[in-house]
């Protein structure tokens, strides 16, 4: 405790001594007019040189630099925007081209398909016609055969029966009576053979 008090006493006493010492001296050197004129003279010289050199040489250069940078940045932004729109246009053109060519390809494909289908259809129709003709021909032939068959059969039947009879009896039989019998039989059995 005592040490602390002594320490603070010491501190304060030095402070007071300091202040009294500074009060004792002559006061502010600022109020001594001995060098006032000299200070003003050198102030005019140094500040004058500073002002003239700054305003004539240095500040215009800085102003130019700043303007230059601003204009260059603006130019760059402008060109960048131009390039951007150009790129967008190119992309649009490209997309258009792709779309067109896709459509074209689709059209080609569709055309080709249509053609092929038509071709197939035509050929099929032609073939169908031919087949129909053939079928009709065949049918006609078959019908002819069918129509002619009974006559021939009757003839054959008449001949065979007359032959049989001749060999059995050894006597010539009247062909007309045989044919009458065959006709009769044929009429009876017609439905049986051809009635399908």
């Amino acid at each position: 405790m005592l040490k602390k008090i002594i320490f603070f006493n010491l501190l304060f006493s030095t402070f007071i001594i300091q202040i009294s010492k500074s009060a004792e001296s002559e006061g502010m050197p600022q109020l001594n007019p001995e060098f006032w004129i000299s200070q003003i003279f050198w102030l005019i010289i140094s500040f004058g040189i500073l002002f003239i050199v700054l305003s004539k040489f240095i500040l215009p250069k800085i102003r130019n630099n700043i303007e230059l940078r601003k204009s260059e940045i603006l130019d760059n932004i402008e060109t960048a925007e131009k390039k951007k729109t150009e790129a967008e246009n190119t992309l649009k053109n490209y997309d258009e081209l792709i779309r067109k060519s896709k459509n074209e390809a689709k059209n080609y494909f569709n055309d080709a398909r249509k053609k092929i289908i038509e071709d197939i259809e035509k050929k099929k129709q032609a073939l169908d016609k031919e087949i129909n003709i053939e079928i009709k021909k065949a049918e006609a032939e078959v019908a002819e055969l069918v129509n002619k068959a009974p006559e021939k059969i009757q003839k054959i039947a008449i001949e065979t029966s007359s032959d049989l009879i001749r060999q059995l009896i050894g006597e010539e039989v009247n062909n007309s009576s045989i044919s009458a019998i065959v006709d009769d039989l044929y009429k009876k059995n017609k439905g049986k053979y051809y009635g399908n």
Binding site: T14, P29, E34, S38, I49, N65
Partner: protein, 244 residues
């Protein structure tokens, strides 16, 4: 044993005595630091303006930022009409700032801690602003002392007050800068001498104060230069755009 805190403000002759017609204009330590400040400003800004890079170098950035700082300050306070006075205000701000900052170096001399220097600068501004005002507005500039919207009874009193406040501008401008510089540097000197007189045992407390004061003083050095410049702008604004 401790040095007088005011000795740092003493002006002494460097080199021979120069006299023209019995007027002493000898080169002194104050002159030396004025020249040093001016030359360093020129050096820094010359380096900062000589290159034309699109992406600025550090020193170029410093120069261009100070340029736009002052430019913005002028356009904010005095508007577009203040543009022609840019060079002067830029030089003033830089000169005061560099003088203040060089004063922060140990064993250096603070030019702006002398009332004669700051008063000369302030008087220059005051006279310049008044001349500009009279050139721009003729005798209409005297309307500055007659604010509009004041009751007629109070008008004589207000006019007297306005005139006094106008005339005290150079004094307030110069004393503000000078007193700030002198007080700060005196305080630093006093605390510095405490460190020595209290020695290794008790010197730590004033030393820490001294460190804190150094930071404060650097702030004050900048701030006072800024205040000096911005008040110049405001006075210029009064002269250019008569608001009253």
């Amino acid at each position: 044993m401790a040095a007088n805190p005011m000795t740092q403000f003493e002006v002494y002759r460097i080199g021979p005595e120069i006299k023209i017609n019995q007027i002493d204009i000898s080169f002194t330590n104050a002159s030396l630091f004025m020249i040093i400040s001016a030359l360093s400003i020129l050096l820094i800004f010359n380096l900062g303006s000589s290159k034309k890079n699109i992406i600025p170098t550090k020193i170029q950035l410093l120069a261009e930022l100070s340029y736009s700082f002052i430019s913005k300050m002028i356009s904010d306070t005095a508007g577009n009409k203040g543009k022609p006075y840019f060079n002067l205000i830029f030089s003033l701000f830089m000169f005061v700032l560099f003088c203040n900052m060089f004063g922060m170096l140990p064993y250096s001399f603070t030019v702006t801690s002398h009332i004669i220097v700051t008063f000369f600068l302030a008087a220059l501004i005051f006279i310049g602003v008044t001349v500009i005002g009279f050139i721009k507005h003729g005798f209409g500039y005297l309307k500055l002392f007659v604010p509009s919207g004041v009751p007629l009874v109070l008008l004589p009193l207000i006019v007297v007050i306005e005139i006094i406040s106008y005339l005290s501008r150079p004094i307030s401008l110069s004393v503000r800068l000078f007193a700030n510089m002198m007080a700060g540097h005196t305080m630093m000197k006093v605390f510095g001498s405490f460190v020595i007189s209290l020695g290794i045992v008790g010197g730590w407390l004033p030393l820490s104060f001294s460190v804190a004061l150094t930071g404060l003083e650097i702030l004050v050095a900048f701030l006072q230069a800024y205040v000096f410049a911005i008040l110049t702008c405001i006075y210029l604004n009064d002269a250019l755009n008569l608001h009253h």
